[in-house]
Amino acid sequence: MSRQISYAQAINEATMVAMERDSRMLCFGLGMDDPKRIFGTTGGLVEAFGRERVFDMPTSEAGMTGIAIGASLDGARCLMTHQRLDFFLLALDQLVNNAAKWQYMFGGQSSPVRLVIRLILGRGWGQGPTHSQSLQSWFAHIPGLKVVMPTFPADAKGLLLSGIFDDNPVLFLEHRWLHNLQGPVPEGDHRIPLGRAAVLSQGTDITIVSMSYMTVEAMHAVNVLREAGVSVDLIDLRSIRPLDWDTVLASVRKTGRLLAIDTSHAMCSVASEVVATATGECFSAMKSAPRRLTVPDHPSPTSPALAERFYPRAEDIVMTVADMLGVGIDTSPLLAARISPHDVPGDWFKGPF
């Protein structure tokens, strides 16, 4: 059995490896070296590399993004972290008008923007309207950016290292509910190429495309569906831009059915893009209308009473697939297996964020 570590430890390892490999790399963010070390993801960094390279920063999301761009243009790779994606919205001008455009608007005559921005997605425990937004489709809309959303610890390490050593700005969206997920992770400089999805299960009845934490729910659903005799191609996108269309389209051509799951709202979502492209490319292979499963078209509420039905869960995936296939499937084993309240990922999570 290979070594198992958590998603948070995998991010920490990737950062350590990158900082060792590139002595000019800088690593900063609010709380970077505080006692909590960003949910444990930045532990040991300042001790290993010093305050010149690993530092806390002013509460200046926009300015610090531009500063990261500038430092990278002078050859210093930057890894910047935000404990919630929502705060990073203050920096959209720097991200969209500068980081994403720098290569293009200077006709490739500039130094590269070597910048990775870690954005943590909140969920549950009352994170509410402004601490739980999942805006991958905003970023993926912009040519010049790359966007990844790893689900498993090994992918987190591999995609973070590939992102850091890419010559372009990369948004690394990590779901707070994945930080404690354990899994096998290779030691050392383990990289996973950007733009390649992972096929987690092979089947012939339906293609499920998912990302980030929703892939965990989808895996539970796939197990129940398998028991009911439904075989699923489960694709974990890992990378949102570039998106692995070859894998997605080949699967849809094979199964003829598509369910696209998203951590965000349906309107203008990655799930919508997957459905649109797959429909356009695989129309003649489609056996039923493709579907999307997303959060509802309203902000995330705070009260646990209001939030209970906000996030789709494994049973919703099962019921959607059953509906698409016209079969009845009992979800009671899934519901019986739930041991945690709906607003936490497990016993390890005690809040507050």
């Binding site: 002013p58 500063i67 243009l73 720097q94 200077f106 006709g107 005559q109 500039s110 590269p112 010559d167």
Partner: protein, 332 residues
């Protein structure tokens, strides 16, 4: 800090020649813009040559600089290629940004000009980040950030200067206060009686103001500031009063449309930085009439050659429109 040391020597001929180059190029663009071959917005700096000429002469080629939308003469002052800039405005493949950027997106990394962009204040943090990297590399380079009076109304300005002060970064902020943001005067944007450099000094950065139409005043202030920055004494902010003669965007004069007066323009034109300085150098016999004529001819030749280069260059093939979205290999 003292702004002006009258005993120090100045590169007078270079200052005059450089201002003439900047004036000559901008006025040639204004003259030829109606031909319809420069098919992008242009923000001309006629009247503001003293700052770009002097700052450019104080900085070394190894120093770095960034700027905003009105950047032609910052780029030229820093040593950027004139033919490649004109070709960029013409949208040609030989342009400094290979036709992708136009007038508002200039770059020449070979002389340390790291880029100008169109969003007000957008490069202030970028220039500050250049300073962060320089400091970590431990050289005596300076990162120069050119900005206008409206930039100090943007949040990233404060965020950037705060960080530069906090980390004592080697950054020179050069603010050209030309009194207008498009058609909006300072009076509707900032409180009357509050000087920009005095407000900025409150952030903890040494800040001073000077006459932006006097190239020696600008040169002296920048020389002193840059010496301190190279010695590790942290960032400096300099504000220079000056005036853009032509419209915000385009080749015309616009004193008749109602947002500023002909009298105000004429008062500033009376203090034309190029003519005033030339007269001064002639008066003290630092240059001769023959020198001046030689400079004028050299500038006319250089500008004509730059336009000839641009006009004779090919357009980029349409199939390159999707190139350079991503960097594909290690450049720097």
């Amino acid at each position: 800090m003292s702004l002006f040391d009258p005993t120090a020597a100045f590169p007078r001929r270079e200052l005059l020649l450089q201002m003439k180059r900047l004036r000559g190029l901008e006025e040639a663009i204004a003259a030829r813009y109606p031909e319809g071959q420069m098919r992008c917005p242009v923000h001309l700096s006629t009247g503001q040559e003293a700052v770009s000429a002097a700052v450019g002469l104080v900085l070394r080629p190894s120093d770095l600089a960034v700027s905003g939308h009105r950047a032609h003469i910052h780029y030229l002052g820093k040593g950027g290629s004139m033919p490649r800039m004109v070709a960029e405005i013409y949208g040609k493949a030989t342009g400094c940004s290979r036709g992708k950027g136009g007038s508002m997106h200039l770059i020449d990394e070979s002389v340390g000009f790291k880029g100008s962009t169109a969003i007000v204040g957008g490069t202030v943090p970028v220039g500050t980040g250049l300073g962060l990297s320089i400091k970590r590399r431990g050289t005596d380079q300076v990162a120069c950030v050119f900005l206008g009076d409206a930039v100090v109304e943007e949040g990233v300005f404060f965020e950037s200067v705060n960080f530069a002060v906090l980390h004592q970064l080697p950054v020179l902020y050069v603010c050209e206060n030309n009194l207008f943001s498009v058609y909006s005067p300072l009076t509707v944007r900032q409180p009357t009686g509050r000087a920009i450099h005095e407000m900025v000094a409150g952030l903890g950065i040494p800040a001073a103001a000077g006459d932006g139409n006097n190239p020696e005043a600008v040169y002296a202030a920048c020389r002193e500031a840059v010496a301190g920055i190279r010695a590790g004494r942290g960032p400096v902010f300099l504000e220079f009063a000056t005036y853009r003669w032509r419209e915000h965007c385009g080749p015309h004069f616009d004193n008749h449309i109602g947002y500023r007066s002909e009298e105000e323009f004429l008062a500033w034109k009376d203090r034309d930085p190029v003519v005033t300085y030339q007269r001064k150098l002639l008066d003290v016999a630092a240059v001769t009439e023959a020198d001046v004529a030689g400079m004028d001819q050299a500038v006319a030749d250089e500008v004509a050659a730059a336009f000839a280069f641009a006009e004779s260059s090919p357009f980029p093939p349409g199939c390159t429109a999707a190139d350079d979205i991503y960097a594909t290999g290690a450049i720097g």
